[in-house]
């Protein structure tokens, strides 16, 4: 190192810039923008940046960026089959994120479909706090008569299968159930490999957490309410259910991760009807950003409507019963009057 002072000279460019006083982001080398700034943004912010200018759009639509965002949100999509399917999406990982990240808010009746769904791929990830505790990809065929006629149900775990989790069973009180509700998040993405569409049918946070006093199981529901028929008041809910079991003081096991479609009368729809509804949700379902508690609100609204419908049905049946009894009594009285007063 030489001795002596060192002076650094710089030039003040205040008047020279043609951007009108100040450096613009386009002066920054695009590699710097890509590797240091864009990689630090979440999906929604990256979307905003891509709509800001054509320069940022070109940089923000890089597949690798969106692939990283999708991968960190849903590790299950690193599965080779899912990777292959997403790469054939017209918008790649960017469109996949747009389909799967926001919550489903599908209230318009399903339209006529132009292609039949031969297969659905399910990509499911369950996170406890920030760590992944369960991740699975399942391919289900949807063409066979057996599937179409029997009640729709996707099960990710077999009868005897269970998955260990690091969640400690603290005690069977409401505080612990609330803790699970806050921290156990699930994402269930349905992918249509031929139509290049996807949808996330989970509410992300549980809409209900129940503890069964007899079996000791904890059942968490992640349901989304969608439109079910021609009439927009016909609603169904995609019921994603996770059942966990465990002894107090020990670790919890996940015993069941399943999905069914249930209508307002509590009936589980068959494969064919469920498929129509799910396809409609995939193709034309509106998506909205998650607002805290929204999923739970909609589920409780659904339960309320279900309860009202049940009540109406019971009232109708009671009225019918009354009418039958009245008719029977009248016939009885008329008959005996006829006999006695002949």
């Amino acid at each position: 190192m030489e001795s002596g002072t060192t002076t650094i000279t710089t030039v003040d460019h205040d008047d020279d810039h043609d951007h009108g006083g100040g450096t613009a982001i386009s002066d920054v080398h695009q590699d710097v923008i890509k590797t240091h700034i864009l990689t630090r943004l979440d999906g929604a912010t990256l979307a905003s940046a891509s709509c800001a200018s054509s320069h940022l759009h070109a940089l923000s639509t890089e597949e690798q960026l969106w692939r990283e965002i999708c991968s960190s949100a849903w590790p299950s999509i690193d599965h080779p089959r899912v990777r292959h399917v997403i790469s054939s999406f017209p918008g790649g990982y960017r469109s996949f994120f747009s389909y799967s990240f926001p919550l489903l808010h599908h209230r318009s009746p399903p339209k006529h479909h132009h292609h039949y769904l031969a297969e659905i791929i399910s990509a499911v990830d369950v996170h406890y706090k920030a760590s992944l505790i369960f991740s699975k990809v399942q391919e289900n065929e949807t063409k066979s008569d057996w599937f179409l006629c029997s009640p729709f149900r996707f099960d990710l775990l077999g009868q005897k299968e269970s998955v260990q989790t690091p969640i400690r069973h603290v005690g069977e009180d409401q505080a612990w159930l609330d803790h699970l509700e806050e921290n156990l998040k699930l994402s269930w993405i349905l992918i249509d490999p031929t139509g290049n569409r996807a949808v996330n049918v989970s509410s992300r946070s549980p809409v209900s957490v129940q503890h069964h006093w007899l079996t000791g199981d904890v059942q968490l529901r992640y349901s989304t309410v969608v439109s079910g028929g021609e009439d927009s008041s016909e609603l169904v809910h995609c019921a994603v259910v996770v059942t966990c079991e465990g002894k107090v003081g020990g670790e919890m096991h996940v015993r069941e991760v399943s999905m069914q479609v249930e209508d307002l009368e509590g009936k589980h729809l068959n494969g064919k009807d469920s498929l129509v509804i799910l396809q409609g949700a995939m193709e034309s379902g509106k998506r909205k950003k998650e607002r805290k508690g929204e999923g739970k609100e909609r589920f409780e609204e659904f339960l309320k409507m279900k309860g009202e419908r049940k009540e109406r049905k019971q009232r109708r049946e009671r009225a019918l019963d009354m009418a039958c009894i009245a008719t029977g009594l009248t016939i009885f009285v008329a008959f005996w009057s006829f006999i006695l007063f002949r």
Binding site: L41, S48, L56
Partner: protein, 148 residues
């Protein structure tokens, strides 16, 4: 290593065997403005000082550095961040580049398109209808953004 570009200049000088008769050396940095350079030098000095103070305790260094960075961000205008990034990139000062990019990323987190444009000094230069199509594709992401 901080200010790698400056070090490179010294290395090049040594390699060319320039004997310094003068007591001062001038290093030309035409792509760096004086204001961001001053901030970078202060940042560098502070970083070295904190590191020297907490030689064995890495956690303490990080904590103190974070506190200093928070203070620094309050004094720096958002628009100056772009200049700082340019300067840090030219000077090959990795820690500062990393820090200022992080600051930019968190400044635009969850903000509207208009905010991002204003922040970066950009204008919409899309074709007619192109912007509408993009906004439609990402309609869900524009809900619940922070106020500007």
């Amino acid at each position: 290593m901080k200010f790698c570009a400056v070090k490179q200049y010294f290395d090049d000088e040594n390699n060319n065997n320039i004997t310094s008769g003068a007591s001062t050396t001038m290093i030309p940095l035409p792509n760096v403005e004086s204001h961001p350079l001053a901030i970078l030098i202060t940042y560098c000095k502070k970083h070295l000082k904190i590191k020297a103070n907490n030689a064995d305790n890495k956690k303490e260094t990080e904590k103190e550095m974070e506190q200093y960075e928070q203070e620094l961000l309050k004094k720096v205008m958002p628009q100056e961040l772009t200049e700082l990034i340019l300067a840090a990139n030219y000077l090959n000062f990795k820690e500062a580049l990393d820090f200022f990019c992080r600051a930019v990323a968190s400044a635009i987190q969850n903000k509207s398109i208009e905010f991002v444009r204003k922040f970066f000094g950009l204008e919409s230069d899309f074709e007619l209808g192109e912007e509408e199509k993009l906004r439609e594709e990402f309609a869900w992401s524009f809900e619940g953004v922070d106020e500007d």
